[in-house]
């Protein structure tokens, strides 16, 4: 059973113009927030984001910004 938390609170943003669609964000995200569509990452399930910051840290092009809390 997938549990979801509060909506519209997660502070995550994606600068699509910087994204090259490498997909590392998809690989590191523990809650399937991203998909890659037409060589660009898309925030498909933004409300699933737990602000762990894994995508932000691993994006080589600094296209993602997360206000990460303490894990």
């Amino acid at each position: 059973m997938t549990m979801t938390y509060l909506r519209n609170v997660a502070k995550i943003s994606l600068k699509t113009e910087k994204c090259i669609g490498c997909g590392i964000c998809v690989n590191v995200c523990p809650h399937e927030v991203f998909i890659v569509n037409n060589r660009k990452a898309v925030l498909k399930y933004k409300d699933n984001c737990i602000e762990c910051g894994a995508c932000d840290k691993n994006c080589p092009f600094k296209a993602i910004e997360v206000k990460a809390g303490v894990g």
Binding site: M1, Y5, A10, N27, V28, H31, N58, G69, G71
Partner: protein, 366 residues
């Protein structure tokens, strides 16, 4: 990044970690191009099981760590995969057990004895620590390939591309759970969607809930003392022994409240409506309050509206507080969400506890 790595190399005060938690697992050594490397067994011995139970209950949790560096599992050679993990003993135990039968190198980094995910969040499972250990252990001389496998949950602390830049090793993110490492390796180092997902199933929730119970049970002595004091001063017609007995019985619903808050809220989490943990807890708190009021004689509560209201507020506060507290053990909440929930809940809790105390104290005077 350079300065952080240099700082690691220049740190003269690097903590020396005792090997007493791992010594019984060393089954020999492997001769390699960089010297002898300790071989550790994949078996769980009695000491490991007892250790696991102990830290799950919160005892010896802060010192359950193993020395950093390279270890061999099975009979690895210069072509074998290198897996990176934390130096929390329980983490190593799961990794050892779940990859039995494989020949791999394990690179243990210093996370101060904390598991991978929490260490990544706190910044000890970090890019610089991985680079430091790779260089210190001379990994480039041990293996022919230039690949590392990191646990996916290390990602919040690691910039994989920086590891490549400074060491020449490409860091691949493996699965979330060590259970999937074998399947991941078989799948050409591709983690499937299922392997990448963090779950929070009943067993997961119960495991962390037990630790919460051990931590929160301490509350009970304070609650008992508070009830005892108010009973001594308000029920003047009873003798000392009766007062003690009343206070003891009055405290029982709070013991149940602590169990509800720390075990049943986590256990029933997906089944209770509402999103906020404190509101989920409130649902159970209201139910428990009804039961307590219905059977107030059983717990020797005096039939007085002030006393009963005070205890309903008290019981509710305990359960809601513990429910809110469980956000910290859960795997699907965001910091911003928890912040929002806390800001909404804490003022209500403060008012409720204050009112509860005021009602009990007022009973002394009027």
């Amino acid at each position: 990044m350079e300065d952080k790595i240099i700082k690691k190399f220049n740190n003269k005060n690097e903590e020396s970690i005792s090997d007493d938690k791992i010594l019984h697992l060393v089954s020999g050594t492997i001769d390699s191009s960089i010297g002898e490397i300790k071989k550790i067994t994949e078996e769980w011995l009695m000491k490991d099981t007892l250790g696991a139970i102990s830290v799950r209950l919160g005892f010896g949790r802060d010192t359950y760590k193993v020395p950093t560096g390279l270890y061999a599992l099975g009979n690895p050679n210069s072509d074998s995969p290198v897996l990176v993990t934390a130096n929390y003993k329980l983490t190593l135990d799961y990794v050892r057990r779940d990859i039995n039968g494989l020949d791999v190198w394990i690179l243990i980094i210093d996370t101060k004895g904390v598991n991978v995910w929490c260490a990544a969040g706190k910044g000890t499972f970090s890019t610089e620590e991985i680079i430091y250990q790779i260089k210190k252990c001379k990994l480039e001389k041990l293996v022919n390939h230039r690949e590392l496998i990191l646990p996916q949950l290390g990602a919040p602390g690691v910039e994989a591309y920086q590891i490549l830049k400074y060491t020449g090793f490409t860091a691949h993110y493996g699965p979330v759970s060590s259970k999937d490492i074998k399947a991941y390796l078989k799948n050409n180092k591709k983690a499937t969607t299922e392997m990448r997902k963090v779950n929070f199933n009943t067993v997961d929730r119960l495991t962390v809930a037990v630790l919460e119970l051990v931590h929160s049970i301490k509350l009970l002595s304070y609650i008992f003392l508070l009830i005892l004091i108010t009973t001594i001063f308000s029920e003047v017609s009873f003798n000392g022994y009766s007062k003690f007995l009343i206070a003891l019985n009055n405290t029982i619903p709070y013991l149940v409240a602590i169990i509800i808050g720390s075990i049943f809220v986590p256990l029933l989490l997906p089944f209770i409506p509402f999103k906020m943990f404190s509101v989920k807890a409130l649902v159970l708190a209201v139910l428990w309050s009804f039961v307590v009021i219905r059977y107030k004689e059983v717990f020797m509560y005096i039939n007085d509206w002030r006393v009963l209201t005070a205890h309903v507020l008290g019981l509710t506060s305990v359960i809601v507080y513990l429910g809110l507290n469980f956000t910290g053990s859960s795997t699907y909440v965001s910091f911003s969400g928890v912040y929002k929930e806390t800001i909404l809940t804490i003022p209500v809790l403060v008012v409720a506890i204050f009112m509860s105390l005021a009602l009990l104290v007022s009973k002394i005077f009027i």
